[in-house]
Amino acid sequence: MKVKLWGTRGSIPSPGPETIRYGGNTSCVGVTLADGSLLALDAGTGIRCLGLALGDEPARLHILLTHLHLDHIQGLVFFAPAFRPQTEIVIWGPASPEASLRDRIARYISAPLSPVEVRELPCDVSFRHCPETEWEIGSARIRAASVAHRGPTLGYRIEDGDSSLAYIPDHEPALGADLERLEDDWISGLGLARDASLLIHDGQYTDAEYPDHVGWGHSALSHSLAFARRAGAERTVLFHHDPMHSDEFLDRHGEEAGERWRALGGEPGSLELGAERAEFELPAHAPQIAAAPA
């Protein structure tokens, strides 16, 4: 399984010289499974570049949406493969008692917010609610579970061979909870992240910023570290960077995160801040993962 970060920013695209290294595109992670199947985790503005990288080849891919906040779907109408008739796209996402996944996404892909309507997309696109039980896509087994965020929100676990990826980009597991004291099965998302080869997790706020954002659906650094430690993932990437955090700020934040991670007993180098275009290869039949240069 190959994993590439196409958008690491949270909330709103934040392009500019001050965010050029960690990136300004919003959430999107490309995953290539062992059998060649393609997944996109979320469709923030980062999916535009993923689409360009796919080229003109006929494509079949699955887009797994964690939720429908704009920073996770904004790139859909700028995803070039969606405008080619030979492309087949399956969009998965959380169910809602209010309306179907298609109808909720159509609120964005429709006038006046969009120049095109869902029915006008030339590709073969279908919409599916994530099942409660594990299902298969290509060579992978996929599991989705509701996690603590605002509105219906999922986290995902993707297992392909012996490797596993947990993706929980928007997550506030410590809302009203003490992550150090709770039993494992009472911690939001922990079942998805347990012993994953790679955990991509919300890391939006510093501890100093969090008190002004309690209940907004995101984690402070202390929460991200505590969650990662409880999860026991081999490697953790902090993700969904706050749009106010420049590269210089994130460099310092990453240093602090690394020091605190080691102080908690974490393996040196096994926790990092996600940077746009960073790639990870998770061998199908090996216990360790190796990071490839961006």
């Binding site: 579970a145 509701s146 603590a148 009203g176 909870a177 922990l190």
Partner: protein, 137 residues
């Protein structure tokens, strides 16, 4: 590892912050949590007791009717809330670990989700007649 349904997790988090005694049961009627206020009323913290099956917690704490007779399990507000998916309310007496009786009103409601019933919550209100509802056993 099987994670509890998110709705139960969030309910527990909310209940942990309340000063009103509250019980949380899963879809099978197992008492999976009660908060500190309930622990004070019962004379035993949840951490001391742990999860309790539906047949056991009635025997431990009651409730009892006006004649002091145990109320049948199927008639408990929390049980009907989970079973029928409807809110329920009742007044009765419960006993804490040291034998103190408490007259309480109980409001119970189900936790209904897109995936069906995930359990129920019962909130205990001391009856207004004697302040905190407590009286010697």
């Amino acid at each position: 590892m099987t994670q509890k349904p998110l709705e139960l997790i969030l309910a527990r988090n909310l209940m942990s912050a309340l000063s009103t005694p509250a019980f949380l049961v899963d879809e099978g009627g197992v008492l999976v949590f009660y908060n500190e206020a309930a622990g004070m009323m019962l004379g035993k913290r949840f951490e001391e007791l742990g999860t309790v099956g539906p047949d056991e917690w009635g025997q431990m704490f009651g409730p009892f009717d006006e004649e002091g007779e145990p109320i049948p399990y199927d008639d408990l507000p929390l049980v009907s809330a989970v079973r029928d998916g409807r809110p329920a309310h009742a007044e009765y007496e419960i006993h804490s670990a040291d034998g103190t009786s408490h007259e309480v009103e109980v409001s119970a409601f189900p936790i209904l989700t897109a995936h069906g019933s995930q359990g129920g919550i019962a909130i205990f209100w001391p009856t207004a007649m004697n302040g905190n509802g407590a009286r010697p056993a």
